[in-house]
């Protein structure tokens, strides 16, 4: 039995002119935990789909446990012992836990009839493997995210999977849930299961993996034991550039209070107090479920408050709608740009000018295309959106550029307070640094900014002071001088 459980050689894959994979080789050793890292667009998601049979490669082959395949189907991949856990877990929200667990195996065995007793047995066996207790008859859509992921993992283990592939497994989990996941992965390791996980989070890479492979631009840039890599090399291989580590901000003093919250409560959080000053970047951090997102929504009028007050430049304002928030100079770059921020098939012009239509229009609400184009043109240039033609749909842009479009939209309104929720999620490192730099500049020019984020390095690089939230309440406040990795990490515990 060879050492290598999975190897892909010379895999190429293009989508209408875009070369997602340019001849990729990977070798995964039996029993190891292998991390696949890379930026958005590096090809890491594509190679996973080739291995699992969702995509057929244009060239190259896959060898699993000695058997060579030039192409795969999902069912064959499953039969060869490969199980993939996608970011959305591939579950059926409308079906029971039992059916979610049993289907893959039943289909792979080409069974035609439904035998509920058998399904139940299969399901019980599956959840036993990771000691997961759950109501088997519950409809999956009623369960929390972490449970859905455990269902996906249980299902993957059913078939005595030889290789489990996990795509960004910790994205939707709270810290506790991440801990539980890590324990399960350790368990799997002990039982000799080979794991390949995709991630861009350094902490995970170091904690879990034995070997790391880094993709860039559709190519395997390097594969090496994790013990030999450090943060600098990691960033270098991922981006091809050397970045100076972002300097933590120098402590600054502020005077004018622009936005104040007093005992503010809304669905998801209660009794929040803070003062935001002109020129200050205030961080709001905490795990998933801490109420940080709800706070940003309430400040922007998307969520109605249940108690407390918000004061803007000293005057009490009931921010009961987005329109009122806008009128008072507030702006929000939402958490999920794809579903909440952007109008994907619409042009970049429209996406940038959408919130300013009232101001850009002439008499009687009449819009001139030229005015819109000029406005958009200005911002595309100012903020650095990489595109040659802003009449193209915004979905043609990369994640980082899309985020810049949303930013441009709100900056064009000259807000007093700019709130950003997860400003650089899914954004490549280059754009990430650009955005951080931009925020710091804006603050220096007097804008008050709130950055809601759980990315420690981001908080350190941008924020002057930080509010820590947990379980819907503010549990800590870290000010300038005291702000560093340790104090932050401790506070988020």
């Amino acid at each position: 039995m060879s050492d290598i459980i999975l190897s892909v050689n010379g895999i190429k894959k293009s989508f209408g002119g875009v070369h997602a994979l340019r001849g990729v080789d990977i070798n995964i050793k039996r029993g190891e935990t292998h991390c696949l890292a890379g930026e958005n667009g590096s090809g890491k998601s594509t190679i996973i789909k080739v291995i699992s049979g969702v995509y057929k490669p244009d060239a190259g082959n896959i060898t699993i446990d000695g058997s060579e395949y030039s192409e795969m189907t999902p069912q064959e991949a499953i039969r060869s012992g490969i199980q993939v856990i996608y970011q959305d877990f591939s579950i059926f929200p409308n079906l029971s836990v039992i059916e979610n667990l049993a289907f893959n195996q039943v289909l792979a065995n080409k069974q035609k009839l439904v035998n509920r007793k058998e399904f139940r047995k299969v399901a019980e066996e599956a959840v036993e493997k990771i000691h997961f207790s759950v109501d088997l008859d519950a409809r999956v859509e009623t369960l929390p995210v972490a449970d859905k992921q455990l269902i996906a993992i249980s299902r993957a283990l059913l078939d005595n999977a030889k290789l489990i592939i996990m795509d960004e497994p910790t994205t939707a989990l709270t810290k506790n849930e991440v801990g539980r996941l890590f324990e399960i992965i350790e368990d799997l390791k002990k039982n000799g299961v080979t794991i390949l996980f995709v991630s861009h989070k350094l902490e995970e890479v170091f904690e879990l993996s034995d070997t790391i492979t880094i993709f860039r631009n559709g190519e395997n840039v390097i594969s090496m034991p994790t013990s030999e890599i450090n943060e600098e090399k990691f960033t270098y291989y991922m981006t091809g550039r050397k970045f100076d580590k972002e300097e933590p901000k120098a402590a600054r003093m502020f005077s004018e209070v622009v936005l104040e919250a007093k005992n503010l409560s809304a669905p998801g959080f209660e009794d929040v107090n803070f003062k935001l000053h002109k020129g200050e970047i205030l961080g709001v951090t905490g795990q998933l479920g801490s109420g940080r997102t709800e706070l940003s929504l309430a400040l922007f009028g998307m969520l109605k408050k249940t108690a407390g007050e918000t004061l803007i430049e000293g005057k009490e304002v009931d921010i009961s709608s987005v329109q009122i928030a806008q009128k008072n100079g507030l702006a929000l770059v939402p958490e999920d740009r794809l579903t909440e921020g952007l109008f994907l098939p619409q042009s970049i012009i429209r996406n940038i000018t959408v919130s300013k239509l009232g101001k850009l229009a002439g008499k009687m609400g009449i819009i001139s295309e030229k005015t819109l184009e000029e406005e958009s043109s200005d911002w595309v240039g100012d903020i650095g959106v990489a595109t040659k033609d802003h009449t193209l749909p915004v979905q043609t842009l990369s994640g980082g550029n899309q985020q810049k479009v949303v930013l441009a939209r709100w900056l064009s309104m000259s807000p007093r307070v700019l709130i950003l929720n997860g400003p650089t999620v899914g954004v490549d490192i280059g754009a990430k640094y650009d955005i951080h730099r931009l925020l710091r500049e804006l603050a220096l020019q007097g804008m008050a900014i709130i950055v809601v984020s759980d990315d420690v390095s981001e908080v350190l690089a941008t924020c002057d002071n930080v509010i820590v939230m947990q379980g819907g309440r503010v549990t800590g406040y870290i000010s300038g001088q005291d702000l560093n990795t340790d104090s932050l990490a401790q506070a988020i515990q």
Binding site: Q323, E340, G341, F343, M364, G381, T396
Partner: protein, 330 residues
């Protein structure tokens, strides 16, 4: 940033080409009947009713919804205007003031019906197809109740004269349709409201986050559909000198087909009023042309229409696919 000159609208070109082709074929095969002023006048007159409703449904579709109740709003408004005129104007008499009032009342009723639709869709979050399915029954039901199931007829000749009126040899009904096309086109293309309708139709969540008041936009959208339907009902009333609760039940599906053929994306966010207008004309030209063959039943038009729709959808699909593939390689 160099500002690119706006590209000619591919879909519009295809539609105009189809229209030109039909007129050409008709002109060649039935020159005596088709290439007559009378024929064109007839075409213009007949397309006004369902054409107006198609415009309204088109706007609703662009906003991400649909209006299945349009025909019944039209009927209800026509019936209301008819009943009012019957009450206020003695048989054989004339009273322009009362006529005007009845017309105004009908339009108000249309606006209210539309607003109710918009309310259900935006404030109660009922999917548009279901909401307007319910209101279609409701409005038809109300129409049945106020007419006691019978037909409203016997309208003042001054009003029915409008149904056949010509302005510089162009049927009044067609002018009304044209006016509606121009106004709606302008609203959708050149105003803040119109742009917001497109955006709400593309992604209602992002629309809210970007400061758009979705319910205000949607209520107004369905009100437009209601008002346009009311006008359609009034035109119909003038032309046939009667109004019934269940008239034109096949128009709904026909209008939806016209709208999609005209380039409106059923998922919302895209499509032009001008495209819908051209599609309406194409349908009526086809209809009138087929009418000139006494052996060919009118229903053949349905057959051709259905095939044309599927064909156009496929062609648009293939073209869009090619365009995206080209973009991918940018």
């Amino acid at each position: 940033m160099k500002i690119k000159k706006s590209q000619p609208d591919g879909n519009m070109i295809r539609l105009l080409a189809i229209l030109a082709a039909f007129i050409f074929i008709a002109g060649i095969t039935k020159p005596a009947l088709f290439m007559q002023l009378g024929n064109f006048q007839s075409i213009g007159k007949q397309l006004a009713e369902y054409g107006l409703m198609a415009l309204g449904i088109g706007v609703c579709m662009i906003s991400g919804g649909i209006d299945l109740s349009a025909v019944y709003i039209a009927n209800l408004c026509g019936i209301s205007a008819g009943l009012l005129m019957q009450k206020m104007i003695p048989a054989g008499g004339s009273n322009p003031g009362a006529m005007f009032l009845s017309i105004a009342a009908a339009i108000v009723i249309g606006a209210l019906c539309g607003a109710f639709n918009g309310f259900l869709v935006s404030k109660l979050n009922i999917p548009a197809m279901l909401a307007t399915l319910g209101t279609y029954q409701l409005y038809m039901g109300i129409a049945v109740v106020i007419t006691n199931g019978s037909t409203v007829s016997g309208l003042p000749s001054a009003y029915t004269a409008l149904g056949t009126a010509l302005v510089a040899k162009v049927p009044l009904a067609f002018l009304i349709f044209l006016l509606a096309v121009l106004i709606l086109s302008f609203i959708m293309q050149k105003t803040i409201f119109g742009t917001r309708v497109y955006l709400v139709g593309t992604n209602p969540k992002s629309a809210r986050f970007s400061g758009i008041r979705n319910s205000s936009i949607l209520i107004r959208t369905y009100m437009i559909s209601g008002i346009v339907a009311a006008i359609a009902g009034l035109v119909s009333l003038a032309r046939i000198n009667s109004a019934k609760a269940d008239f034109g039940s096949s128009y709904t599906m026909q209008c939806i087909l016209i709208v999609v053929l005209g380039g409106v994306n059923p998922n919302g966010g895209f499509g032009k009023i001008s495209g819908v207008a051209v599609a309406v004309v194409i349908l009526q030209v086809l209809s009138s042309y087929l009418n000139m063959f006494p052996d060919i039943s009118n229903y053949f038009r349905d057959l051709i229409w259905g095939v044309a729709l599927i064909a156009v959808l496929i062609i648009n699909h293939v073209i869009a696919k090619r365009r995206i593939a080209k973009l991918d390689s940018v």
